[in-house]
């Protein structure tokens, strides 16, 4: 079991993560942050992702699109370690992380927001935000980071409200805030604007771009809404039937007849 080494990793989480984020914010290096190599995931006889080679550079903002059943969520869950890969490898910052537990990947700087908003409903907003922050900050610094995260999520004044009572949009903001409070290098968002209205979508888009530009966090965003995708990302990866189908600038992808075909005919 890997539990003994984990302790030290968790302890060193804060400084590590912040250092890298700071480096990224100042430096211009663009190196590959995440790389998957022949990634396969099978459930019983069903192949959800098939031989996926996919990479994200440091500080990049990448959107992942594709018709239903294309394997987008599966790919994200493979990157976070929620699912174990059937075959293939995942490299992060040049290290093979394929066999690491989810929490170990988090301590290396990968953070995730789930498809369904999964804040802790019974806990207050403050308690929710403390949970990621308490790992690397104490006392006055913790108080400051918690307050900042709540403010960035636009939830000032809601500190003592149970998270379950927030609106859907507020929960999405809170969850992004919690994931970002870990100060990751790579943040994975699974349909962050599903079910939100236009104003809420714009707020989320702005938030993502700010985190990307100001803190140098790289993103992988799954989203169906191509307008939203176009508003935040330049590079897009299209998954289809568990495989990488196209990769390129959003304008090119949008006008690609093959992509249009799989979307229209994509009643899988």
């Amino acid at each position: 079991m890997s539990d003994t080494e984990t302790e030290s990793e968790t302890d060193s989480l804060g400084p590590n993560v912040r250092q890298t984020a700071a480096e990224l914010a100042t430096g211009d290096r663009t190196e590959t942050l995440l790389q998957t190599d022949g990634l396969v995931k099978q459930f019983g006889g069903f192949t959800a992702t098939d031989d996926v080679d996919f990479s994200v550079d440091e500080g990049e903002l990448r959107c992942l699109i594709g018709p239903n059943g294309a394997g987008k969520s599966t790919l994200l869950n493979l990157i976070t370690g929620t699912y174990e890969a059937s075959d293939g490898s995942i490299y992060y910052n040049g290290h093979d992380i394929t066999d690491l537990d989810p929490h170990q990947r988090v301590s290396r700087g990968i953070s995730m927001k789930f498809q369904v908003p999964s804040v802790y409903g019974d806990l207050s907003v403050r308690e929710n935000v403390r949970l990621p922050v308490q790992q690397f900050a104490d006392g006055e610094e913790r108080r400051r980071l918690v307050a900042e995260a709540i403010e960035a999520a636009g939830l000032t004044g809601y500190e003592d409200v149970a998270a379950a009572q927030l609106s859907h949009g507020q929960q999405q903001q809170l969850e992004i805030g919690m994931a970002a409070a870990l100060e990751p290098d790579l943040l994975l968002l699974d349909e962050p604007v599903a079910g939100l209205d236009v104003a809420e979508r714009e707020a989320i888009a702005e938030r993502i771009m700010r985190l990307n530009e100001e803190q140098g966090i790289a993103f992988i965003v799954i989203e169906h809404d191509t307008d939203f995708v176009a508003s935040i990302a330049e590079e897009v990866t299209v998954l289809h039937n568990g495989e990488v189908f196209r990769e390129g600038p959003i304008e090119e992808i949008e006008s690609d007849p093959e992509v249009q075909r799989i979307y229209l005919g994509g009643e899988s």
Binding site: F43, G44, F46, A48, G69, A70, G71, S73, T74, Q115
Partner: protein, 312 residues
């Protein structure tokens, strides 16, 4: 050779016991996400009803057994309406307090365990108060078959046949009938099933009724061979739970598979080292199975289904 036959019979016996013990529990757990800790007491109701119907009313055994199953089924439906769904208390409270007092126990595993445990206490003690520490038993029909130095109750072989028949019937019910289709739709995705016009409320009520009737039938079938006391349900509980969790959420297939695997283990170890070791071996096997298949044999299959749904 003789020991081979003995082992085979012992396997059939164990298989029948496990499958019959588990069937009702498995259906209720698989479809409703409710763990019925009063399962043993439902078996008790079936056994007592059958015995009393035969001894007091003088009904023929087969008829008495059917009565046992039906009475338990009806009791199950009442339990579902009053406790599990809270529909009847809520009907009353809606008219008196203007609000629901009970939130249904569907998919609230821990709460359903606690609530049905309360019910089990009431039923066991109620049976003790009403009928005393034991009631007269009906005699085992059919006599025995002998071979060599062994003698074996024919009735127990009949039970094995019945258990297989029950599995087939349940399988048919859940795969070939309209009810089964709705049931499976409800397991897969409750909301979608509702959207497709399945009355999930009624579905749950019927499911609980069928599961209870099966438990009652188990009690009825075992009534001639076990001693009639208020705690008789306890002896089924362990095998039932073990079979359900080892089998996983896929009701019929899971029960059949775990009945086969665990029945074989129970039979072999009992045959070689006695019943105590057999029982311990069964439990240890269950622990090991859960350790390596945390969600049972068929839990993995369900994961696949869930995964498919998510990506669709």
């Amino acid at each position: 050779m003789v020991n081979g036959i003995n082992l085979a019979l012992q396997f059939l016996d164990s298989f029948a016991f496990i499958v019959l013990a588990a069937a009702g529990l498995a259906i209720i757990f698989g479809i409703m996400g409710v763990i019925n800790l009063a399962h043993g007491e439902f078996i008790l109701i079936g056994a007592y009803t059958t015995t009393l119907a035969a001894t007091q009313l003088g009904l023929p055994l087969v008829v008495a057994m059917v009565v046992g199953g039906v009475v338990t089924g009806v009791f199950g439906i009442i339990t579902e309406r009053v406790i599990i769904s809270g529909a009847w208390p809520n009907w009353v409270s809606q008219r008196t307090l203007g609000r629901d007092v009970i939130e249904p126990l569907y998919d609230r595993l821990a709460d359903s365990m606690v609530a049905t445990f309360g019910l089990s206490l009431i039923l066991t003690q109620g049976a003790r108060i009403r009928f005393g520490n034991s009631i007269d038993q009906i005699s085992t029909p059919f006599g025995a078959i002998s071979y060599g130095s062994f003698s074996y109750s024919t009735y127990r072989i009949v039970l094995a046949g019945v258990s297989i028949g029950l599995l087939v019937a349940t399988y048919y019910l859940f795969t070939r009938t309209d009810f089964g289709m709705r049931a499976r739709a409800t397991i897969q995705d409750k909301e979608t099933a509702q959207a497709m016009g399945v009355n999930t409320d009624r579905m749950y009520m019927l499911t609980f009724g069928i599961g209870s009737a099966l438990a009652g039938l188990t009690g009825a079938l075992f009534a001639p061979v076990i001693s009639m006391q208020p705690t008789l349900g306890d002896q089924f509980l362990v095998e039932a739970f073990v079979a359900v969790v080892v089998g996983g959420p896929s009701v019929v297939l899971g029960t059949a598979l775990s009945g086969g695997v665990l029945g074989a283990i129970l039979a072999v170890f009992s045959n070689l080292y006695g019943t105590f070791i057999g029982r311990i071996a069964l439990l240890v096997a269950a622990l090991i199975a859960l350790r390596f298949l945390p969600e049972g044999i068929t839990g993995f299959i369900e994961q696949v289904q869930k995964r498919r749904q998510e990506s669709e």
